[in-house]
C-alpha cells in the first residue's frame, strides 16, 4: 500500500498527460506546447524545490508569494540602472528574507507558520511601496533573457544541485533528520538552529531567483506579482505527493512532479476549452483526490 502511495503522483502525472492528450488530439504534446508548459512550470518548480528543504524539517514557508514580488521589484528597479545588477539583487533579497525567516523561527522560537505569514504581509506592503502601487517595466533588451535555453540550464542546474545537496550531503540528511525528530536529531549532533536558518536561506535564495525569472518573463514587476504564489507552491507539492505536515518523508521529486502537474493542468484545461468558471473547481477536485490518495493516515496518526 505504501508502495502504491509513493507512485500515486507519477500515475497522476501520466493520467493527466494521457487524458489531455486524448482530449486535445495530441496538441498537448506538440513541441511548442511542451515548451510553453515548461515556461510556465519553471518558476513554480524552482520555488517548490526551495520550499521542499523547509518542509523536510517539518516547517512551512508561506512567504514565497510576496518574496517573489519584492525580489522582482528589486530586480526591475536595479535593472533600470544596470541590467547586470538585477539578478544578484533579486537573489540577495531572497537570501536576506530567508535569513530573517530562519532566525525568527530558530532563535526566537516563533512557529514557522506565523513567522512566514507575517513576513508575507510585510513583504507585500514593501512590494506595493517599491512598485509605487503600480508596476516597474524592465528594459526591452532584457526580454531576450526570457530564453528557453537560459531557463532550461538554470532549471537543470538547480534540480541537480538541489538533488545532490538533498540526497548526498550532510546538509540534506541533517534537515530530514530534524523533520523526523528534532530532539533526537539534536541529540545525535545535528546543529538544529543553523540547519533551520540554512533551509530558509535556500528557500529564499531560490525564490529570489524565481523573482528574477518571473520579471524577465513578464517584462514587469507589479504590486500584484506573486500574489497567492505560496498557495500554488503548496498545491503543487501536495499534488507531487508531499505530506502537508512535511517531515523526513519529503521528497524532492514532489517539487518537480507537482510543478509539472499544476502547469499541465492549467494549460490542458485552456487547451480543452474548459470554461474559466469551471477551471478552479476542477483544480480543487483533483487536489482533493491527490491528497486522499497519497495521504498516509497511519504515519500521521503516529506522529501525533
Amino acid at each position: 500500500m505504501r508502495g502504491f502511495k509513493r507512485i500515486v503522483p507519477y500515475i497522476g502525472l501520466v493520467l493527466i498527460i494521457v487524458l489531455f492528450s486524448a482530449l486535445t488530439g495530441g496538441k498537448l504534446l506538440s513541441f511548442r506546447n511542451l515548451k510553453l508548459i515548461f515556461n510556465q512550470a519553471v518558476v513554480l518548480i524552482i520555488g517548490c524545490i526551495g520550499v521542499t528543504f523547509v518542509m523536510a524539517q517539518g516547517s512551512l514557508d508561506l512567504s514565497q508569494g510576496s518574496l517573489l514580488g519584492i525580489s522582482g521589484a528589486m530586480a526591475a528597479t536595479f535593472a533600470a540602472i544596470t541590467p547586470g545588477l538585477s539578478l544578484p539583487l533579486a537573489i540577495l533579497t531572497g537570501i536576506a528574507v530567508g535569513m530573517i525567516n530562519g532566525t525568527l523561527l530558530a532563535f526566537f522560537k516563533i512557529p514557522s507558520f506565523i513567522v512566514t505569514l507575517c513576513v508575507l504581509f510585510v513583504l507585500r506592503g514593501l512590494t506595493v511601496i517599491a512598485t509605487h502601487s503600480g508596476s516597474i517595466p524592465l528594459p526591452f533588451a532584457m526580454l531576450s533573457l526570457d530564453n528557453f535555453r537560459i531557463k532550461a540550464s538554470i532549471l537543470v542546474t538547480v534540480i541537480l544541485a538541489a538533488y545532490y545537496a538533498y540526497t548526498y550531503t550532510s546538509l540534506g540528511k541533517n534537515m530530514r533528520a530534524i523533520g523526523s525528530g528534532e530532539t533526537s536529531a539534536r541529540y545525535s549532533g545535528v546543529p538544529v538552529e543553523r540547519m533551520k536558518v540554512l533551509a530558509y536561506l535556500i528557500s529564499g535564495l531560490l525564490c529570489g531567483l524565481c523573482g528574477w525569472l518571473n520579471v524577465v518573463r513578464t517584462g514587469a514587476a507589479d504590486s500584484k506579482t506573486g500574489l497567492l504564489f505560496e498557495l500554488d507552491i503548496l498545491t503543487a507539492l501536495v499534488l507531487g505527493g508531499m505530506p502537508l505536515t512535511g517531515g523526513s518523508s519529503a521528497k524532492l521529486q514532489s517539487a518537480i512532479i507537482g510543478g509539472l502537474m499544476l502547469a499541465l493542468l492549467s494549460n490542458g484545461m485552456v487547451l480543452v476549452g474548459i470554461k474559466a468558471e469551471l477551471q478552479q473547481a476542477v483544480k480543487g477536485v483533483i487536489f482533493l483526490l491527490a491528497v486522499y490518495l497519497s495521504f498516509e493516515r497511519e504515519s500521521v496518526v503516529m506522529i501525533k
Partner: protein, 385 residues
C-alpha cells in the same frame, strides 16, 4: 525502492533530453516546423474562428457583461470566444496569452494590467503569428507604444476618452450649480484614474468650480467613507464630490458618508462605472451624474480582430479607437438605459453583421470609428426605436 529509483532516473534523463537535445533539434528544423504550422492554420480557417479573451475576473458586473456581450456578438458571426481569467496579475496575463495561443485561438485580446506587460505579450503574439489587440486600454509609455506598433501582429486598441469622462461629469456638476468640489480617486499612476482627474480639473477650471482637496489610492468603501467625512468636516462649503472610479466600493462609501451628515442633495456626487442600481441612486439624489455602459469597448476590439482574422483587415496600421461612455443624469435616462442597453443588445444582429467586411463589403475603419464615437444612450434609442 530500486524500481522507483530507476523510474526517476529515466524521467530525469528524458526530461534533460527534452530540454537540450529536443531544443537544438527543433532549432535546426525550425523552417520545416513553421511550414507545418501554416498548413494547419489554413485548415483551421474552415472551422469557426476562435477568439481568446484574457480578463481580470469573471464574476464582477462589468466583466460579466463584457463576456456575455462578446459571446453574443461572436454567436451572431458564427465565431467562438475562449475566456481566461488573469486577476490583473502580469504573470497570469502572460500565461493566459500563451495558453490561449496554444489553444489555437485565431486572435487574442486583453485588458493589460500595466503598460509594462505589453512588450512581452506583443512578443508572444509575434512569435506565434497571432493577432493581438487591447481593450479598455491605451499605451501611455511612448517607448512601449513604439515597440508595440513595430509589431506586425499588434492590431490596435480601444479605450474610452477618460479625459472627456472627467470633463463631462465635471461639467454636469457645474450645471447643477456646484461651486466647491473635492476629488476621491483610485491608484495614482493608473492611466484611467489620471486621465479622469485631468478631465475633472479642466472642467472645474473652465466652469469656475474650486477644487478644495483630493485623495488618492482609494479602492474600497471604508477608506472612501473616511476621506469623504474628513472633507465634509473640513469644508462646510463643500457641495460636490467627484469619485474617480475603482468599481462600486468608493462610491458607496462616499454616499454613506454624505448620508450620515444629512447632506444628500446638498452635496452632489459624480462617479464612473455605474452598476445596475443606477436608477435607484439617481432617484434618491445620491448621485448627480454617472458615466458607464462602456462594456461595449471590448466589442469594438473584437470587431477589429474579426475583420483582420477574416482576411479583410480594416487597416494596415496599428489603430486606436476612442469611444464614449454613456452619461446618466436623471432617473428617466437610467430607465431608458436599462431598457435599451441592458435588456437588449445595444447593437442588433443586423448591425453587428454590417460591421464586418464579409457581410458589408463597403465597411471601413472610419465607419467603425464613427459608430464607436457615436455610442450613447440617444444613439442606441434612435437606432432601435
Amino acid at each position: 525502492m530500486k524500481q522507483h529509483k530507476i523510474f526517476c532516473l529515466v524521467l530525469t534523463v528524458a526530461f534533460s533530453l527534452m530540454l537540450f537535445g529536443g531544443f537544438s533539434l527543433f532549432a535546426e528544423q525550425a523552417p520545416k516546423a513553421e511550414k507545418a504550422e501554416k498548413v494547419e492554420k489554413v485548415e483551421k480557417a474552415k472551422g469557426p474562428y476562435l477568439f481568446g479573451v484574457s480578463i481580470w475576473s469573471d464574476s464582477g458586473p462589468l466583466s460579466k457583461k463584457v463576456i456575455s456581450n462578446l459571446r453574443y456578438a461572436a454567436g451572431v458571426l458564427g465565431a467562438e470566444v475562449e475566456v481566461a481569467v488573469d486577476g490583473f496579475k502580469p504573470d497570469n496575463q502572460v500565461s493566459n496569452i500563451e495558453n490561449l495561443i496554444a489553444r489555437g485561438c485565431d486572435a487574442v485580446m486583453i485588458c493589460n494590467c500595466t503598460d509594462a506587460v505589453v512588450p512581452k505579450i506583443v512578443k508572444l503574439a509575434d512569435e506565434a503569428g497571432v493577432p493581438l489587440a487591447l481593450y479598455f486600454r491605451k499605451i501611455n509609455d511612448p517607448e512601449i507604444k513604439k515597440y508595440a506598433e513595430s509589431s506586425p501582429y499588434f492590431i490596435g486598441n480601444v479605450h474610452e476618452d477618460e479625459v472627456a469622462v472627467g470633463y463631462n461629469l465635471g461639467s454636469a456638476l457645474a450645471d447643477k450649480g456646484c461651486r466647491n468640489a473635492v476629488i476621491i480617486n483610485y491608484n495614482k499612476g493608473d492611466t484611467t484614474a489620471e486621465n479622469r482627474y485631468k478631465g475633472y480639473k479642466k472642467a472645474f477650471a473652465e466652469k469656475g468650480i474650486a477644487l478644495l482637496g483630493e485623495q488618492w489610492d482609494i479602492l474600497d468603501a471604508e477608506p472612501a467613507a473616511n476621506a469623504a467625512e474628513s472633507f465634509i468636516a473640513a469644508f462646510p462649503e463643500l457641495d460636490a464630490i467627484a469619485v474617480g472610479g475603482g468599481g462600486g466600493g468608493p462610491l458607496s462609501g462616499t454616499i454613506r458618508a454624505v448620508k450620515n451628515h444629512n447632506k444628500i442633495g446638498r452635496i452632489r456626487i459624480t462617479a464612473s462605472d455605474f452598476g445596475p442600481d443606477i436608477a435607484e441612486s439617481l432617484k434618491n439624489k445620491e448621485v448627480a451624474a454617472m458615466s458607464g455602459g462602456h462594456w461595449t469597448d471590448p466589442f469594438f476590439t473584437f470587431i477589429l480582430l474579426y475583420n483582420y482574422v477574416d482576411g479583410t483587415p480594416l487597416s494596415k496600421k496599428v489603430e486606436t479607437i476612442t469611444m464614449q461612455p454613456i452619461y446618466l443624469t436623471s432617473v428617466s435616462e437610467a430607465q431608458e438605459y436599462m431598457k435599451w442597453c441592458m435588456d437588449q443588445p445595444p447593437y442588433n444582429d443586423e448591425e453587428i453583421k454590417n460591421m464586418t467586411v464579409r457581410h458589408n463589403s463597403s465597411f471601413t475603419l472610419s465607419d467603425l470609428r464613427k459608430i464607436a464615437a457615436a455610442y450613447s444612450l440617444q444613439d442606441v434609442i434612435k437606432r432601435h426605436k
